[in-house]
Amino acid sequence: MLRNFFRHLDPPLCLSLIVLSGLSLVVLYSSSGENMELLYKQAIRIAIGFLILFSVAQLSPETLQRWSPYVFSVGLILLSMVLLVGIVGKGAQRWLNLGLFRFQPAEIMKLGVPMMVAWVLTRHPLPLRLRELAIAAAIVGGPTILVILQPDLGTAILIAAAGVLAIFLAGIGWRWILVLTAALGAAGPLLWTMLHDYQRRRILTLFDPWSDPLGAGYHTIQSIIAVGSGGANGKGWLNGSQSQLEFIPERSTDFIFAVFSEEFGFIGAVLMVCLYFFVVARGLYIAFSAQDTFSRLIGGALSLTFFFYVFVNIGMVSGLLPVVGVPLPLVSYGGTSMVTLMAGLGMLMSIHTHRKLMPQ
């Protein structure tokens, strides 16, 4: 029974996830000002995360495929409820209070949207045609807009990315990609008017954070200073002045990479990027060697979404991308994103370990 349980794990993936979780605790100890209570909480979350990963890995890809419409529907209902009865958390409505704990339905959609897209596309022959594309676009667009309305730009982008990546993998024609890109470019100004002031400022200051060093550019500048001042070898654990003197905002959550690279330097940062690259590469390999279309699509989409997290987060911390609330997978302090990430990684393991010997 127990052997069966572990049979559905992928050792290389597991190992790198454990290393990342360990790093998370090390950096959190420093960024939280040596707050043991916070560390315990994160350790418990990691434990719960692995438990979810193991559990999801037990499910077969067929089961996951069957469940996809339900996951998506439940997510859609909850998202609508958030808008209706959601309580205000940090000035934005993101949380649903379920009595014992607060729940962020948008997180479900990070899995629900790519699952639904893969489910829909698997039912039709590929490559896509306009009709399927329109359905897929609606599946991606609907929840994204709901999340934008919350407003939570970061999560919305992640949900959209997960769906779009699934569509991309399904073989949308390059022509379409070109057209969509152009359409998005045209929609830019329209979107611009829909954005909140603070979001606009964040995007503007992306191009020149120093134009508003004490306002919108402040986070980015302090973060870049932290990263840059780390140098090759870093300032040493617990010795980052930017982190310890609390210059870095959100240093335990979204900007934890700034703390890490300030204290462990370029060497540490390269190691971490490589570690993430390994996780993503392993995920893409699993998708590549999967045996059915749904598995390939969902496996590839989840791997790429994982990478999207990493890229957006590190890009934001190092001043390449605007500040959007995207956590660094497995390392940032926080619960909900941990759960969905681990469930996604569990799906990858499920895909890899449920392969059947097939006659070629």
Partner: protein, 627 residues
Amino acid sequence: MVNIRIKDYVRETNLIQSRLVISSIIVALLCLVLLGRLYYLQIQQHSHYSTLSRENRISFVPIPPARGQIYDRKGRVIAENLPTYTLEVVPDNVPDMDAALDQIAQLIELSDTDIKRFNAALRARPGFEIRTLKSGLTEEEVARFAVNQHLINGFQINARLQRHYPFGPEMVHVVGYVGRISEADLERIDRNAYRGTDYIGKLGIEAHYERTLLGQSGYEQVETNAHGRVVRTLSRVSPVAGKDIYLNVDVDLQTAAREYLGEFEGAIVAVDPGTGGVLAFASNPVYDPNPFVNGIDNKSYQLLREDKGRPLLNRALNGRYAPGSTIKPIMGLAAMEDRRSPFERVFGKGWFSLRGSTHRYRCWKKEGHGWVDLHDAIVQSCDVYFYTLANNLGIEKLHEFLTRYGLGRETGIDLDGEPSGLVPSKEWKRNARGQPWWPGETVIAGIGQGYTLATPLQLAMVTATLANRGVRNKPRLVRAVGDSGATKLQELGPQTIEQVPIRNQKMYDVVIEAMVDVVHGKRGTARRSGQGAEYRFAGKTGTAQVVGIKQGATYKEENVAKRFRDHALFISFAPADNPKIAVAVIAENGGGGSRTAAPIARKVMDYYLIGPPPPPEEEPGKEDDAA
């Protein structure tokens, strides 16, 4: 349906797999982008960001608390905080400090002392904390600086509170002063408590009650621009003002007392016997404490140090004088404590000799007082009586008894650096001088000469103890403390040390009656000072020799240079039956206690008990060179 498409498994697989390969390549490329960015920031631009991280734009600006104010007995401000313009700088924001100082020197006069002190301050604390270059800028200097401010980065003018002593010299020996924190101070204080504060109590009440007066500093988290100027405040923790202090001392009485000393150097200490509250604590001459607040310049300080009158010496606290005949009342108590009858008489023949010695210990009255008992001996200050008494008691008993009354011991006043004075003993002489005790030294100790030393404060407290019939209180300059602006004060109350153990309380009657007759009796040494008094008071004159007089020679004031003349002493309390004030007066080189010191004490008591005198009165008579 015409257009049925069949799922082509192989085609689909190839399609997705090719997309996965493309994705992998993109992922790898994006990883390289990230690594490239990190390389650019952490390796290529490292030194730039290192600098930025050091000179970060968020800084903590400490806010000094307002120092507690000091009020006198009647609520007049003795020490206050006045706003002043100060030129300040966060040293980290100035790349070339020497060049900046040169520039500033062209706009604002900077003395060598200013620069020296500033350089010391630079070393004392971390570079991100604000430092003062100069305070007390004139409006003109402020204007001149403001015009040129853009040329001088890092420096700014702020309005700060600065200590000011409105009564200047009059209260300096009580209140002392604050000064800039020196490097020596830094070694003994908690630096955090003084963040943002440049001043620390150096002397007097300001030093002794430093913790009460200081308060707690607060801070502001501010964002500064590239030139170190504050752009906006992010958060603020308010400072807590120091507590105000209310003195027992009455400025008017203190000022009047010092005025009464006139040209004499000396001290006057007046206390309320019942509480130990110090009503006046005057030392003459005085100096202005205000220049000390920001550091007095060397030249002026040198002048004060070299002044013959030694104004820096707080005579009331630190002046040590032979108490002379003022200890005779205590000697009288010692006699009775030793079960000697106060009615036992001694023949005052003008001098006293130890058995088997030809050395004559002379009485101040050459012809002698004739037969005197204890009462007469105190009233007329008969030296021979007390020579005999001291010789009979012996130095050990004498030492023990005088010490009981607080001589040779700190009074415990709320000031720092109080000396203990000295009541000699055989043991003391062996330890301090390595010499045996001579019987003759006992004899002169009986009239408060020789090794015996007492401070004016000690004499006042001994007098208060007599007035209290043995209750010893600690002298208290401070009556109460209170939060800034509070109406309800925390009264500190009297601090009683003990009831001096003595065989019989009635012995005080004998001594006090004699002391009353010193001023009111027909033959009292200070009878002129008692004339016309609206109340009865008790006193005792004293004269302390400054130089010894050769055997057979006569002390003639005219023949002695002023600084070798005897010190004039007087102790008294009034009213005799319900003492409200006890006074000790010492006029250095004043000649006799009865002629110089007693009238001063009377005036002080008059002032306190009756009120300020209407017009100035004429000079006291010139006779009764009693001691």
